[in-house]
């Protein structure tokens, strides 16, 4: 429980992590690397750049910052460097962190341990980063490895920058002085330098170094205090995903701000770029106007007539796009597999144009495919992860490879991704989940999830005797397809609609749900209606098992299903398939139609409170452990 709480508190603390990675900084780095080696007593971590990706989360420096604050001031006489701006940050920054620290005193022991390790990572990651990002900083390469020369440099460099503001600040923080020991003071200094380094880095980036140095730091702490913790944690976690050793890549990898479809000017720009006609945003519900409007069937003829004009689009990709658009293909896994297979085809048929390099040209090509697919239907998280995997593989192709070798490597990478992350993962999940099914169980599932289906079939093959309740809802009625296949295999099923859920739940012993994605805070993003099922199950005390492959996990944090969702065909909800007589909404006058807005959301977010366990390919985990998986998993596929 304790660890859990820590992990929950993490997002807040991560802010520090956000500061650190952006450090191509020059001055503080030497000091860090100088003091780094002595303290680093965990070689595995310090050795590899792999630990870089961990740095943001370990962040306990926050706490350590605050409780060493006094120490730092005690050490004031020996401030080796720093300018006014930097100190200003530290000063205004610390109080908020110290509040946080006071709020959670339970962390004492664990926190300390974590902390010492943490700082260590922290330093290592920074020094490693330094070496990689140095070319851009262009300052000094040698000091990283040679502490001796570092010291020399230090002596030269930071001293002139000393300023009076520092003293001022020191006096502010004096009251805390007494509490700290020497070691702590030392540690504090280190961390402060790191903070300074990061802020400096930011200052360097901006066009007017002097001005920015003073203005930016002022802004950041404010944000931190004012902004609701949620927002900041979202920001932090998104950035965390991005934390990678090479600065440039990191920037590239940052997801561009999502298109807000209520922003008229940007929509107009996108329209000009896009292949498809953007349907006009007419009669859409106010709250959901920022979501991409549904591309209904009317787009099909347009896309069809453009068939031969999109010659840069590979036929396989085009076909997949068409299938997305028409809804022939749905379901997270299937869409992801289809997309990857199309990409594989495209890569196979790809030839590098003269005077271009494969890495760059192919990346842009894949980017073009992706934007085409997005126009057909917004991507799911799983697909986003797969695309990121593919792009990182392309970026990491050694330049020495010949074209055919590179293509073969990529194709086998794609195959491996499909096999390991989807096929094998599903098999593992099925094994895990089947252990939870006992004879006499009544299992409830909602919609049509391919993993849940496999679990049920597998358990049936094992000879377990159980009943299945398939809950379904309009307008997709996906459950019927699942039902058809289950019944064909001889499972005894009950079929009901979502509105009868509370009646059925009495009988149910377990609920199995699929997911489109799971966010870092444990929120499950899944077919609309899942949240209600989970909630009802929670109310009845029925355990809810969410089955989801780990490649669908996403580092974003989302609390509601409004800010990110997908709109379905609004007409689908006003019509009933096969019942032409139910047309109450058909013959409205134009004026009435204007005041009628139809909302057909495709997904919803289930809070982690309603979920008992998440069955994933790494085992059965509580929703709170999702960030851990995200972190580990990311490391695994980005740094292979």
């Amino acid at each position: 429980m304790d660890t859990r709480r820590v992990s929950r508190a993490v997002p807040r603390v991560r802010q520090v992590g956000f500061f650190t990675p952006n450090t191509p900084a020059q001055h503080p780095v030497p000091t860090r690397s100088q003091s780094g080696p002595p303290t680093s007593d965990s070689p595995p971590l310090s050795g590899s750049p792999a630990s870089n990706s961990l740095s943001p989360v370990m962040i306990p420096p926050a706490r350590h910052l605050s409780d060493n604050l006094g120490g730092r001031t005690a050490a004031l006489p020996v401030p080796r460097h720093g300018n006014a701006g930097d100190h200003a940050i530290v000063g205004s920054y610390n109080p908020s962190e110290s509040v946080l620290w006071l709020e959670s005193p339970t962390r004492s022991r664990i926190g300390d341990e974590e902390f010492s390790e943490g700082t260590d990572w922290y330093r290592r990651s920074n020094s490693a980063k330094f070496s990689s990002s140095l070319p851009s900083g262009g300052f000094n390469l040698s000091p990283v490895k040679q502490p001796g020369s570092v010291a020399a440099l230090e002596a030269k460099n930071p001293l002139p920058e000393k300023s009076e503001a520092q003293k001022e600040q020191a006096s502010n923080s004096k009251p805390l002085k007494a509490k700290t020991t020497k070691a702590e003071r030392r540690a504090l200094q280190e961390s402060q330098r790191a903070v300074k380094a990061s802020s400096k880095a930011e200052a360097n980036k901006s066009s007017t170094p002097g001005g920015a140095a003073s203005s930016k730091p002022m802004k950041q702490p404010q944000q931190k205090k004012d902004g609701p913790p949620v927002a900041s944690s979202v920001a932090a976690s998104e950035r965390i995903g991005v934390d990678r050793p090479v600065e440039k890549e990191r920037k590239k990898d940052l997801p561009p701000p999502r298109m807000q479809f209520d922003d008229v000017s940007r929509v107009g720009k996108a329209k000009r770029r896009s292949v498809l006609n953007q349907p006009e945003a007419r009669n859409r519900v106010e709250l959901f106007r920022h979501l991409p409007p549904h591309k209904n069937g009317s787009q099909l003829p347009y896309l069809e007539s453009k068939f031969f004009e999109l010659h840069e689009m590979h036929p396989a990709v085009y076909k997949v796009g068409l299938q997305y658009l028409t809804g022939d293909l749905s379901g997270g896994n299937a869409r992801c597999i289809a997309m990857l297979q199309a990409f594989r085809e495209a890569i196979r048929d790809y030839y590098t144009p003269p005077e271009k390099t494969l890495n760059r040209d192919l990346t842009s090509k894949i980017g073009g495919f992706v934007s085409f697919l997005i126009e057909c239907r917004p991507l799911s998280m799983s697909m986003g992860n797969a695309i990121r995997f593919l792009k990182s593989r392309i970026a990491r192709l050694p330049l020495t490879l010949s074209e055919s070798e590179a293509k073969a490597t990529l194709c086998s990478d794609i195959d491996r991704f499909i096999n390991e992350k989807i096929v094998l993962a599903d098999k593992v999940i099925v094994r895990h989940a089947a252990t939870k099914i006992r004879d006499g169980d009544v299992l409830l599932t909602y919609g049509s999830s391919c993993v849940v289906e496999m679990i049920l079939l597998y358990a049936h093959e094992l000879g377990k005797r159980f009943l299945v309740v398939v809950v379904d809802s309009r307008p997709m009625l996906e459950g019927q397809k699942l039902l058809r296949r289950l019944v064909a295999k001889g499972l005894s099923c009950t079929y009901t609609q979502l509105n009868a859920i509370s009646y059925v739940m009495h009988e149910v012993t377990q609920v199995f749900l699929g997911a489109s994605s799971i966010f870092s805070n444990g929120t499950v993003y899944s077919r609309v209606g899942t949240a209600s099922v989970a909630m009802v199950a929670h109310a009845f005390g029925v355990p809810v098992l969410v089955c989801c492959e780990a490649y669908k996990f996403h580092e974003r944090v989302q609390l509601d299903s409004i800010c990110f969702n997908e709109l379905g065909d609004p007409d689908a909800i006003s019509k009933v398939a096969g019942r032409v007589d139910l047309n109450y909404l058909d013959n409205l006058t134009d004026k009435q139609k204007e005041s009628l807005q139809l909302l057909n959301l495709k997904y919803d977010a289930t809070p982690s409170d309603y979920i008992s366990v998440i069955v994933t390919d790494y085992g059965m985990i509580p929703p709170t452990s999702v960030p851990v998986i995200v972190r580990e998993y990311r490391k695994e596929y980005l740094l292979i």
């Binding site: 003829p301 896309l303 069809e304 007539s305 453009k306 068939f307 031969f308 004009e309 999109l310 010659h311 689009m313 036929p315 085009y318 076909k319 068409l322 299938q323 028409t326 809804g327 022939d328 293909l329 749905s330 379901g331 896994n333 299937a334 869409r335 597999i337 289809a338 086998s412 195959d415 491996r416 499909i418 096999n419 989807i422 096929v423 599903d426 049509s448 391919c450 289906e453 397809k481 296949r485 064909a488 295999k489």
Partner: protein, 459 residues
């Protein structure tokens, strides 16, 4: 997009005598003063399809057509002309050029098609369903000149027999039955298997096969190889494929996949099956899949292929020039309601000396006069097309007619509902009603003809 385009231009069509001749093969028959082939080529060019194979029947015709294409489209299209023997039918023609076909899919377009149905749409439908064949269906055009109410009697009888019975699935995406022309007299036969699999079938007679097909190359070639007797794509190959879609003897859509699987050494077959099952479960099953899978839900055992239909929207224009009546209709429509087909076809046509009109001469709407034509005094031209360099005397009435190039018409002629080919000389006071006058014919002064076909005797 991995499509090869074959334009079946044809040669000398029997239906169109005496309009076509050795010198003027069918592809070059002028429709609104442009060879009919222009319309297809222009349509393809607009869809960014620039590598074409044009199949022409007969060596001589091929030379003429080839010369014209290279003259007109020299810098815009890359066209290969293939000459095939006459009377081997459309299927035979494809068989002849089979070794030229290399891509995965083939688009076969008839050269006499005047339409604005985008070829891309047909190709996209084909790709979307991974079909063996996709046929374009369009609504049957309104035939006969509505304004006058009269039509060529000879064609009337023919029109009656030209029925199309087309069966579609409820989603209007798959072709379940197709019977055209002569077959109708016999009983329509439907495979029970298909009916059982689909459950519901919509039979329509208001649709027509527009003769624009997308074929899967492997399927097409295999069918042509297996069935030597097949003469026509429309009457033999397509019905055969539709009939046998659930018990595919020819190639099936499974086979290419099988080949792919064989190539995959990295992944085990087991995983392949797994992946394909995920994909299959996620997609909406067509009746092919449902019927082919055995009751216990195991993997599909029977081979199937899909026959799709692309139904052109009712607003699009789509007519084949396969009869004299159709020729009249197309001329009327292209100058009239479907004039968007003309736009941009060939701007060169508009250059040159504009036609000279005499005093008190009226040219009604839906009419067209070619460059360099001269019309005398007090003439009337209504709903007619008059070609280039024609000389028309005074007091001439031309209604609902097509007059081709270099025609000389004497004073006081009355031409109604007729086609007058190139280099014809009509002397004074000739009255033609519903006639076709072959090229180079001389109609003596004062003669009257009604519903006749006049042509020079072959020497």
């Amino acid at each position: 997009m991995d499509f090869q385009v074959v334009v079946l231009a044809g040669g000398s069509s029997k239906n169109l005598t005496p309009l076509v001749s050795k010198e003027l093969p069918k592809p070059l028959l002028p429709v609104a003063n442009r060879p009919v082939l222009t319309y297809v080529l222009h349509q393809l060019e607009q869809s960014n399809l620039k590598d074409l194979i044009v199949v022409v029947e007969g060596e001589d015709a091929a030379l003429v057509v080839g010369a014209w294409i290279s003259g007109t489209f020299i810098d815009r299209l890359h066209v290969e002309i293939a000459a095939v023997p006459e009377d081997i039918g459309t299927a035979g023609a494809i068989r002849e050029i089979s070794h030229h076909l290399t891509t995965k899919d083939i688009l076969v377009v008839s050269g006499d098609l005047v339409s604005d149905v985008p070829p891309g749409a047909v190709a996209a439908t084909h790709r979307r369903h991974d079909a063996a064949v996709t046929a374009t269906l369009c609504s049957i055009p309104v035939s006969g000149p509505l304004e006058s109410g009269s039509s060529v009697g000879k064609d009337k009888a023919k029109k009656l027999g030209r029925y199309n019975i087309i069966g579609l699935d409820p989603g209007k995406q798959f072709l379940l039955h197709i019977a055209t022309g002569a077959e109708i007299e016999k009983d329509a036969r439907l495979p029970k298997r298909i009916l059982r699999a689909v459950g519901q079938m919509e039979i329509r007679s208001d649709l027509m096969d527009a003769h624009m097909y997308a074929f899967k190359r492997s399927v097409l070639q295999e069918v042509l190889e297996l069935k030597d007797a097949f003469q026509s794509l429309k009457e033999d190959v397509l019905p055969y494929l539709v009939r046998s879609q659930l018990k595919s003897e020819a190639l099936s859509n499974r086979t290419p996949q099988g080949e792919e699987n064989g190539n995959e050494k990295v992944t085990s077959l087991n995983n392949q099956v797994f992946v394909s099952r995920i994909l299959a479960n996620a997609s909406i099953p067509s009746f092919h899949d449902r019927s082919s899978e055995t009751p216990d839900g195991s993997a599909p055992t029977r081979k199937t292929h899909k026959c799709c239909a692309y139904i052109a929207s009712s607003s699009s224009y789509c007519v084949r020039l396969n009869s004299i009546q159709a020729f009249m209709d197309i001329n009327r429509d292209v100058t009239g309601e479907a004039d968007h087909l003309l736009s941009g076809t060939d701007p060169n046509n508009n250059i040159g000396p504009s036609p000279k009109l005499g005093t008190k001469t009226t040219v009604g709407p839906h009419s067209m006069l070619g460059e360099g034509s001269e019309v005398g005094d007090k003439c009337q031209v209504k709903r007619s097309v008059i070609g280039r360099h024609c000389r028309i005397g005074s007091h001439v009435k031309v209604v609902n007619s097509v007059v081709m190039n270099h025609v000389t018409i004497g004073d006081g002629c009355i031409i109604q509902g007729s086609v007058v080919c190139s280099n014809v000389q009509l002397q004074d006071r000739v009255v033609l009603k519903d006639c076709q006058v072959g090229a180079g014919f001389v109609v003596t002064a004062g003669s009257e003809y009604k519903a006749e076909s006049l042509a020079r005797k072959e020497k």
